[in-house]
C-alpha cells in the first residue's frame, strides 16, 4: 500500500469528515441549455431553459433565469456567485448566484455568443459579438467596443479565450480567422486566416503555450507558441463543422472534439492520433458540445435535442445523463458551491 493511501486511511480514522470532504468534487458542472424543441420568439415554451447546475446526486437543477437564449458562460474567479452569460438579449450578469440579473449591455450589443472574464484582471470581461468584440473593465457595468485591427467586415465573433498566464493576451475566433490582442483589446492582428467561422478556442490547462481551435470549415488547428502560429491537426476531418474542442484537465494526453457530422472525436496521445467515439451515441451524432469534468476526467457530449451523454472511459462507452431534448451550448465547471 502506498504511503499516501495509508496516510489518508489514518486520517479518515482520526477525522472522518476530512475524508468525506476530500471526495467532494472541486467543481460544479453548470451548463447553458435550450430545452425542448426549437424556440420561437413569441411562444411560451413548456420547458425551462437557461442555466442548470448538477447536484450531488447527478441530477440537474435549473437556476436563475428561465431564458431560451443563453450561450457562453463565465464566472468571476474571485466569486463564484458572479456569472456573466452571453445571451440573445446581450450580456446577462448576476452577482448573487442567479437570484437577480441585469442585462449588462444595451441595444447596440446583441446576441453575444461567448463571454470571458479575464483571470488576470477579473474586473475585465470580454464578449464575442456578431459584429465584433466588446470589453468591460468594470465588471460589466459599462462596455466599449474593442475592434481596432479587426476587419470592418468579417469580424463576426463566435469564441473568445483569454491567456491565463500572460495578461492582456486574448484570442478571438471570428468569421475570417483567429485574431490576437496582446494589449487587452487595444489592437488586434490576425494570426490565422480561415475560410469560415472559428467556432471555439481553448488554451490547454497543462501547457499554457498550447492552444487549439475548432473551425467551421478549416478543421482543428493548434498553436504551440501561445497562439502566434497555427497548424492544422492531422487526423481530424475538416469538410464539416467542428463545434468545439475540450482538453481533459486530468490528463494532458486526452482531448475531445464535438461535431454535428463527425460526432465525438478523441485523442489519448496528445493529438497524434484520433478516434471516432460515437458507439453508444444516437445515430446521426448531432453533437453540439463536448466537455470534460476537471475533477473526474469524465467526458460529456450534448446530443442536439436528444440528451446529455456521459462517458467514464473517454468515449468508448456512453450512457444518457439527463437534460432530455436539450441543446447544450456550453459546459462550465465552476468552483463548487459550498
Amino acid at each position: 500500500m502506498a504511503p499516501p493511501v495509508r496516510f489518508l486511511l489514518a486520517l479518515a480514522a482520526a477525522f472522518p469528515a476530512a475524508l468525506a470532504n476530500a471526495a467532494i468534487p472541486a467543481h460544479d458542472m453548470v451548463v447553458s441549455v435550450l430545452a425542448g424543441p426549437a424556440f420561437v420568439v413569441g411562444t411560451k415554451s413548456a420547458f425551462e431553459s437557461g442555466l442548470f447546475r448538477r447536484g450531488p446526486d447527478g441530477s440537474f437543477h435549473h437556476f436563475g433565469l428561465d431564458f431560451p437564449g443563453t450561450f457562453g458562460i463565465s464566472v468571476d474567479p474571485r466569486d463564484s456567485r458572479v456569472f456573466y452569460v452571453a445571451s440573445l438579449n446581450g450580456c446577462l450578469i448576476t452577482r448573487d448566484g442567479g437570484l437577480t440579473w441585469r442585462i449588462g449591455t444595451s441595444w447596440d450589443m446583441t446576441e453575444p455568443q461567448d463571454v470571458r472574464v479575464d483571470p488576470n484582471s477579473p474586473d475585465t470581461v470580454y464578449i464575442a459579438l456578431p459584429d465584433g468584440v466588446a470589453q468591460s473593465k468594470d465588471r460589466g457595468v459599462t462596455w466599449t467596443r474593442r475592434e481596432r485591427g479587426l476587419p470592418e467586415r468579417g469580424k463576426y465573433t463566435q469564441a473568445i479565450e483569454i491567456d491565463r498566464n500572460r495578461a492582456g493576451r486574448v484570442l478571438a475566433g471570428c468569421e475570417t480567422g483567429i485574431y490576437l490582442t496582446e494589449n487587452a483589446g487595444r489592437s488586434w492582428r490576425r494570426v490565422l486566416p480561415t475560410s469560415e467561422t472559428v467556432t471555439d478556442i481553448e488554451q490547454s490547462p497543462h501547457d499554457p503555450r498550447r492552444w487549439m481551435a475548432a473551425t467551421q470549415a478549416d478543421g482543428l488547428v493548434q498553436s504551440r507558441d501561445g497562439g502566434l502560429t497555427w497548424r492544422p491537426v492531422a487526423g481530424v476531418p475538416s469538410a464539416k463543422c467542428l463545434y468545439n474542442v475540450a482538453f481533459d484537465p486530468t490528463n494532458p494526453r486526452r482531448i475531445a472534439v464535438g461535431s454535428w457530422t463527425y460526432g465525438v472525436l478523441t485523442t489519448e496521445d496528445g493529438g497524434a492520433t484520433w478516434a471516432d467515439r460515437n458507439a453508444g451515441l444516437p445515430a446521426g451524432h448531432c453533437v453540439y458540445r463536448v466537455g470534460v469534468d476537471p475533477d473526474s476526467g469524465r467526458l460529456y457530449a450534448g446530443v442536439h435535442q436528444v440528451s446529455l451523454y456521459q462517458s467514464g472511459d473517454f468515449g468508448r462507452t456512453w450512457t444518457p445523463d439527463g437534460l432530455p431534448q436539450s441543446r447544450i451550448y456550453r459546459f462550465n465547471f465552476v468552483p463548487a458551491a459550498r
Binding site: P130, Y243, H304
Partner: protein
Amino acid sequence: MKATALFLFLAVGLSAATIVEPPAPVRASVAAPAARPAPLPAFSAPVPPRTIVQDADTRRAAYLARVGEVLAWKAKLADIRFPVTFDASAVCAKLARREDPAVCSRRVIELMKNPGTGPFWMFPAVGMAYLGRDQLSPEAKAAIRAAWGSVMQVRGDTENHWAMYYTSLYLMAQLYPNEPGSSWYTGKSSEENLAEARDYLVHWMDITTTIGQGEFNPTGYITEYAIPMLFLATWARDPAMRIRGRMTLDWLFADLAANTLNGELRGSNARTVDASVVEHWRDHASFYSWLLFGNIPPNPSFGGFGVYFASAAANYELPEVIYRIAVDRDGDYVQRDLKRTRRRWRHSDVLAAPIYKTSYMRRNYAVGSYQGGVADPIQTHTWDVTWAVPDPRGVTNTMFSMHPVSSPYDLQTYFAESPDSMIPAMVAERKPTYDLPDKFLGSSRFERVFQDRDTVIALYDIPPGTRFPHINGFFSKFLSGVTQDKSGWIFARGGNAYLAYRPLAAYEWRPTPKGDRRLYSPHLKNGTIVQAADAGEFADLAAFGRAIAALRLAYSLEPVPTVSMRTLRGRDVVFTYGRTPVVDGVPVDYSKWKLYEGPYLNAEKGSRRLTITHGSLRRVLDFNTLTISDSVTSGR
C-alpha cells in the same frame, strides 16, 4: 380631377373588372346568435364598394365604424367561462369599449400569472396596461406591473421584434417611472429602460428614413410595426416620441398605399408567408387596407392582431393624401424605392445591402420587383405580376418565378447560428416549407431581376451542387386561356390583364396542392421573362400573343444568362446576369436611386424627409425637425 370625372373613371374600371369569376371565396365561420342574425363580419361580408369617399367627416366616420366593428366582434367572442376566447386582445377590445372592467381585471390577473416572453407578449400587455389605466382594478394593474419584473423578456433578433420590444419597454418604463432596477426584468431602472428604448427607436427610425426599412412592405409583419407605432403615437408623453410614432405610422401607411392594388399588397416585399405569397389578400396588410382605405375585405379574424391596433385606432387619423394614393389614382405610375436587406452578420462586405425596388401600377394589374439576391433569408418575395380581381378572397391572382433556397450559408449570413441545426430549427419555427423544393416562398442569391414598367426579366445562375437546383414558376388556376405558343412564350389572361411568360430553359408542369400549377425547370442557368399588358390594349389574347411573339428577343444561357429584347413598351433592354442592365443603350444607374421616387412618394437618400403628394395635397414628414407639414397647392 373633378369628382364627376373620378366617379366616371371608377365606374368604367369596376365595370371592366367583372370578367373573372373566381370560385367561392373562403369564408371564416362565426357563430351567430340564435335570436337575430348578426351582420357578417367584414372578412366574410361582400367586398366593400370601391367608391372614393370625398367628405372628410364621412371618411372618418367610416374608419371609426370599422374600428368599432373589430372591437365589437372581438368583445362579443370573449366569454370569461372559456379562457381561450378571453385573451389579451379580448381584454384590449373590451377596455377600448369601456365595458366589463371587473371581468377584465379578473382576466388580467389570470393572464399575468403566467407571463409570456418576448415582444409578442409585451405589446399586448402594454395595451392592457394603458387602456386599463382608469378601468382595471389596482390588483390587476399590480399584476401587470409585477410581470415586468418577474420574467426575462426575449428581445429577439429581428427588426419587427425590436420595434415591438423597445416600444413596449419604453411605454411601460414611462408608466412606472422612478422604479429601481430590481423591479424590472432588465435589472435596469425605469429611467435606464426608457433611455435605452428611446435610443433604439430613434436609431431605427433614423436608418429607416435614410437608407430604407429592412423588413420592407411586409404582408404580415406590417402589423408588428403598425401596432407599436400607434401605441407610441398614442401614449408617449414625450412630444418628440409621440410625433415620431405618428410620423412613422404615416410613413408605413403611405408605403402601403402606394404598393396596393385595390388594397392588395403585391410586388416585392421583405417578408411574406406561403399562403399570401400566392394569395396576397390573405395577410395583415389587407386588414390595414380595409381599415384605412376601406377598399378590400380584411383578412380572416382581422388578422388577430388587428384587434390591438383597433383598440387604440381612434387616436390615429389617416391623412387624406395617403387615402387618395390608395384609392384615387389618375393614371399608371412607376414608383422606385430604396430599402435595405436584413443585417448581415457574415458573408458580406456590407452590414445591410441596398434593395432597389420598382413598382409599376396600373388599374388592372401591377408589376413589382427588386434587383434580386437575398433581402431576408427566409420569406422574401422578389417579384410578381398581380392582376386586379373583384374579390381577392381565395384568389391566387399572381404570377412569378423563383429559385427555392434552403441554405445554411444564407441562414448564417443573417443569423448568429451554427450551420447544422438551422434548417431543422427553421422548419420547427413555423417556416415548414423552408426546406421543400416545391415552395414558392423565398429569395435567392442566384437570381437577378430587372424590371422596366411591365416587363420583368429574372435570370438565374445556380451553382452546381446547390440544394434544389431548379426554378419554380407560379401559374394560378385563375388564369384563363393559358397557351404554350410555338414561339416559346406562354400566354394567359388574368382578370383584365394579358400575361406573357417566357421560360428560357426547358420545363415541365407540376401540380400544386391547391390546384394551381408549378412550372418546374431543372436547369441551373435559367431565366424568365414576363410581359404584361392591359386587356384593353389588344383585340384579344391572340392579338396580344402575336405582338409579344413579334418582339425582338435574343438570349443565351452560357456562360451566364443574358437577354436582349425590345419590350412591349418599345424599350431595348440588355440584361446579363451579374451585370448592370442597359436600357436603350444607357446603363441603369443604381447609385442615383432615391429613397422614394414617383408621383406620390418622394424622398432623397439620407434625407429623413418624405414628401407625400396626391393632386393638390401634400404632406411632408420631416424627421430632422420632427414636423408634419400639410399644404394644398392652389390652382390645381
